[in-house]
């Protein structure tokens, strides 16, 4: 209670305080300068952490999301484990080696009928009116 009394006294004294001449002229600029100076003193990781936690506080996560994340995590673990146990055993998970391109065979097979040709190229889009 004595603390409260002190604060009340202090506030009463503040009522009679007067800022010096020109105090409010550059108030906003001065305020921002001091704010930036204060921020520079805080390490970067603390700033990022503060911002992340404050953003997470604003996000409302549905209760089912935790279950979904858990299932996904379990699934990913299973896939990775299966890959490690595969006969290749190379440790390269879910990356298939490139297969050689199949040879173009079309109707090279002598048992297949060939293409019977009738048309050739008797016409042209070129202007024939010069020689």
């Amino acid at each position: 209670m004595p603390e409260k009394t002190d604060i009340q006294k202090l506030l009463r004294l503040k009522r009679y305080e007067k800022p010096p001449e020109g105090y409010f002229d550059d108030f906003l600029i001065e305020f921002q300068r001091r704010q930036r100076t204060e921020l520079l003193r805080v390490p970067l990781h603390e700033i990022l952490w503060d911002r992340a936690t404050s953003w997470l506080d604003s996000v409302r996560v549905p209760s089912m999301a935790y279950a979904a994340i858990l299932i996904l995590g379990a699934g990913a673990t299973g896939v990775i484990w299966t890959g490690l146990e595969s006969p290749a055993g190379s440790g390269a998970v879910a990356v298939a080696a490139p297969l050689p391109a199949p040879a173009i065979t079309f109707s090279q097979d002598p048992n297949l009928p060939p293409s019977y040709v009738l048309e050739t190229r008797p016409v042209s889009y070129e202007s024939p009116f010069s020689f």
Binding site: F106, S107, P113, S115, Y116, L118, E119, R121, S127, S130
Partner: protein
Amino acid sequence: MSRRSVSDMVGFPRAFAAAVVLATTAIAGQDPLGEALSEKVAAIFEQGREAVVRIESSDRHGRLTGTGFYADPSGTIYTVTGVLGNAEEITVFQGLRKLPARLLVADGRTGLALIRVEANTPFLPLGDSADVKLAAPLIAIGYPRGVPETFSFGMATGFDRQFLNRYFRTTHIRASIPVQPGLGGAPVLGLDGKVIGIVVAGTDGNTGCYVLPINAAEKIRTDFARFGEIRPGWVGVSVEDLPITEENRPRAKVADLLQGTPAAESGIQDDDILLRVGEVVIHCREDIIDASFFLTAGDSVPVLVQRGSKEITFSIRSVLDPAHSKEPGTPVVESIPRFDLSGN
């Protein structure tokens, strides 16, 4: 009306009687015209079939097959480029013989190709396609869809320079010969047994076809024999139609003559009216198509023009057509897109 009715009444019994007589004689096999025609066609087929070959080629895209024919006893074969594709191997089947062949030359303008086998061969005599008249009976011999050699019969039904707004490189013979896939490159013969052209495309669901005149094919073969390559000539003249005058006669004039071209150096001028190029009389600009096709680079061609009231003949030595950029002596079949004229 009454006169017509009387005429019909009189004409009907006569027509009916004539039809009965014709049908009866035809059934009895005594139609002299039909029988003569049938015998003639059969004889031409029997006479020419040995010189008609099946050609098979293969490249990385697969196997192609079509028809060709021997044009001389030393194994030179006319066929079409579509049969060869980008051929790595060409095989000729002549009866029971199977002969390897090599490409001599391929002409992308007409779709004609010349190949050769190293053998003594029968051959078909060549006619003059300029003599083919409308309604001339024509016979195509070839190998459609893997069946043995057979023939198809029809008539010359027209002479076209373009089809569906696309120009041929020279006038083609339109024929009412039904064709099937595999007949590309088939020889078309007249009733004298001489080749007048080569099947290059089917039309209208293959109920008819277009035939490259043998004279155009021979121009290419002559070029190859002389120079080892195709040498289309060029003099540097563009041609425009003149407005039809009161005489109602279309004419063509020289336009956009480029300096430094053989034509400009010969003395020809813009607005000269073209009357004749070589042996071809020029009535309209489309006549240039045939005149220009038969030019050979290095040869001189007489060009008759009208300037004012004077007629002047210029002798112009043509040069190699700049559009024909192929290196000399390298007969390579290019990848030639195929046009389906049948609309399928």
